[in-house]
């Protein structure tokens, strides 16, 4: 179990920021194309840096707290890091943007809580693609 420590930290980052998607209506995971469009070049750039830094001995990883699973010379934990941390940033940014633009009440109402609370909203037929959220945004 000790060797999963790095991955567990990453999982916690995902878990802690997940409510931003639904409660503060960040809509990052629900825009996968845009999400990957932001993440892929970022991951690629930092993986290149990581490859050289590891090769040159700038940093190493505890064999005790990492799985030892690697792609090339990069531990899978590092690749996870380059995906997870920017993802946390995107979720934070979208949540903050929503609050600055619409205020807390409207943001919470647009999120999943708004569908549970009797807020006098009609048209709850939210499809899987979140089209209702999109149309709300355009108003």
């Amino acid at each position: 179990m000790q060797r999963f420590q790095y991955l567990i930290v990453m999982a916690l980052c995902v878990g802690v920021t997940l409510p931003l998607e639904f409660i503060l209506n960040a809509r990052v995971y629900r825009r996968p194309r845009r999400m990957f469009g932001a993440l892929l070049p970022t991951v690629a750039a930092f993986v290149v840096w990581d490859v050289f830094a590891i090769r040159l001995g700038h940093w190493t990883f505890s064999p005790e707290y990492t799985t030892g699973w690697k792609i090339g010379n990069i531990p899978v934990e590092e690749i996870t890091f380059f995906v997870v941390i920017p993802l946390c940033a995107l979720l934070s940014f979208e949540a903050v943007s929503n609050i600055l633009r619409d205020g807390w009440v409207a943001t919470l109402r647009a999120g999943v809580l708004g569908r549970l609370l009797p807020a006098g909203r009609s048209g709850t037929g939210s499809s899987e693609r979140g089209d209702t959220t999109r149309s709300e945004e355009l108003v």
Binding site: G57, H58, F82, C88, F93, L100
Partner: protein, 122 residues
């Protein structure tokens, strides 16, 4: 040679230049960007701290390659520059693509298509 320090400063400068010259998302003028970065920098204290604390280190830095300033739970100060570059690049790309994605009004979309702009909608 403090290579991590040098590379971090280089990465930060590169990302800023990339945003200002190529990506041009306008993110540096957005209040939400700075607030979100601030929040992430705070959460970086426990996360980074857990990875770098000297008592049971997960990510082990070669002491020869960084400036030697460790803050909070033994995290090299460079890590915050690394985080800035990592998160800013992703955010700039995200905002940039959102300009195409959110251009859902037909007029805007036609204009984007006419100029060869992305029709990348999710």
């Amino acid at each position: 040679m403090p290579w991590y320090t040098v590379m971090t400063l280089l990465a930060m400068a590169l990302v800023v230049a990339l945003e200002l010259v190529v990506i041009r998302s306008g993110i540096f003028r957005m209040r939400a960007f700075w607030i979100a970065l601030g929040i992430c920098a705070l959460f970086q204290i426990p996360v980074d701290g857990w990875l770098t604390k000297l008592s049971s280190t997960i990510v082990i830095y070669n002491p020869d390659v960084f400036a030697g300033v460790r803050i909070f739970f033994d995290s090299p100060i460079e890590d915050w520059g690394f985080g800035f570059a990592l998160m800013t690049l992703a955010l700039a790309l995200w905002v940039r693509q959102g300009r195409n994605d959110d251009a859902t009004s037909p007029a805007v979309r036609d204009a984007a298509l006419a100029t060869g702009g992305g029709n990348e909608r999710d």
